[in-house]
């Protein structure tokens, strides 16, 4: 029987939740890296036992961890004990912005007060293992940049074309920092990658990361000086179904957006949602037009309306939404659901999972019709990913 493994990153460590295909009884392991912030945990689609974790701390900085046995044991790639000190080995936590072309920073970005500010590496928000290469993995970081490792996380190199294409001075941090939080690899075209940055917008490369273009036409953000600007939009998350790689769904700061041409243009599909502010958005594993969001009251009140936690589902690719509340707290629930904290499994009856800043992870084994809490008292959940295993 198939089984699922839910990978959870939290404010105080990582957890792995495991169940068989029925998804009604769960084993919980962890905390891994106890006491550290775990922004993201994600497995390689090529080798499901290879899992990466982004471990960070205000004290000690960034570390990348890797497991090659499905999360039982972990090591920082290249981080073992060196018996005889000699040449300094590679360190998995070394993220240094590319200055090879000029020897100087490629650009500055806009600071909160409107002045220009140098890029400063803070942490890895998102890890995206290659769809085809067991040793390759991408990292979206704060301050916003995209890095790639081709040795399974041991060494990292920036893809500088993203920061170097010219609009960097107009990028600015959102409230959570200037993070590159979304990396989507196109399964039909290995040279096409989508990324998203708060607050710059979405970008696409069609040449494997050498050059990038902003893909924000159609986005309207009333909170920036030019609501229709080429860059500066606070994109919270983007999702794609692997069978329709030209169709993208976006949860912007406000607004649910859809593109049918690989991001060249967008149109709003918020429709009848009670609020179109939120962070997560995801697509059903088998129905490319079925999408999920968790509406949050507003950008100043990051919790569900009236304390009622609700997932909304559209079966028509947006505009027409239905509330899914069965099994979710409908009273006194004032949590948030962060941008990387929703995922779907690919069992026949699609499972949907999300985590909250209140430490709950909810799961649905019937595409969202009913929900059950898998765990209720973890540290604040930063990210949720799911593996469907044979």
């Amino acid at each position: 029987m198939s089984r699922v493994r839910v990978l959870v990153g939290t404010k105080k460590g990582a957890f792995i939740l495991s169940a068989d295909g029925k998804r009604d009884k769960w084993d919980v392991s962890g905390p891994f890296f106890a006491g550290w912030e775990i922004y993201h945990v994600k497995a390689s689609p090529v080798d499901p036992n290879r899992i990466y974790a982004s471990q960070s701390s205000g004290w000690f900085g960034q570390v990348i961890q890797r497991s090659d046995d499905g999360g039982k044991t972990w090591d920082a790639p290249g981080g073992g004990i060196t018996p005889v000190p000699g040449e300094m080995p590679k360190a998995s936590n070394k993220f240094v912005y590319d200055t090879s072309a000029s020897g100087k920073p490629l650009t500055t970005h806009q600071w909160y007060d409107g002045t220009q500010h140098p890029w400063e590496f803070k942490r890895v928000w998102h890890l995206e293992p290659s769809l085809t290469d067991r040793e390759a993995v991408y990292a979206g970081v704060e301050d916003a940049a995209l890095f790639r490792s081709t040795d399974a996380g041991q060494s990292w190199h920036e893809l500088p074309g993203l920061r170097g294409h010219g609009t960097g001075p107009k990028w600015q941090p959102g409230a959570g920092g200037m993070c590159l939080h979304t990396v989507i690899l196109d399964p039909s075209d290995p040279n096409r990658i989508y990324i998203a940055i708060s607050a710059a917008g979405a970008f696409r490369t069609d040449d494997g990361g050498k050059t990038w273009k902003p893909i924000n036409k159609g986005l309207k953000s009333q909170y920036i000086p030019d609501p229709n600007a080429e860059v500066g939009h606070c994109v919270h998350h983007v999702a794609m179904h692997k069978s329709h790689p030209n169709v993208l769904f976006m949860q912007k700061h406000w607004d649910i957006m859809r593109s049918d041409n690989a991001g060249d243009t967008w149109h709003e599909v918020s429709g009848n949602l009670p609020t179109d502010f939120g962070f997560v958005i995801d697509v059903h594993a088998h129905e490319p037009e079925t999408i999920y969001v968790v509406p949050i009251k507003s950008d100043s009140e990051h919790f569900p309306i009236e304390g009622k936690l609700s997932v909304y589902r559209s079966r028509k690719g947006g505009n027409e939404w239905e509330a899914l509340t069965k099994g979710l707290p409908q009273k006194d629930c004032y949590v948030n659901v962060l941008r990387d904290a929703m995922a779907v499994d690919s069992l026949d009856s699609c499972g949907v999972y999300f985590g909250t800043t209140g430490g709950q992870v909810f799961g649905s084994a019937d595409a969202g019709n009913t929900w059950m809490p898998i765990v209720q008292s973890l540290p604040a959940v930063y990210s949720v990913e799911v593996q469907t295993l044979p």
Partner: protein
Amino acid sequence: MIRVMLPAHLRALAKSESEVSLDVPEPVTQRSVLNALEARYPVLQGTIRDHVTQERRAFLRFFVCSEDWSLESPDAPLPAAVVSGAEPFYIIGAIAGG
């Protein structure tokens, strides 16, 4: 041998005991001790000093013989008690909640 005391999180990263012993070539300084520590435990690169600037991370301090050496030159010779192994070199993280 130079003795270095690690805070709990770095000990977990290095998979070491709280105290580690290192061969450090003379002159024994903050820089040479940290170089030897990072050479032996590569995972600690970047966790104590910035990868590029090699400056001490803001929330860490270095103590030697009950004195704060955090702001001393990284190339200043450490006291004889550290060189002889009688006293350890302490790496301490700022204490904070949350």
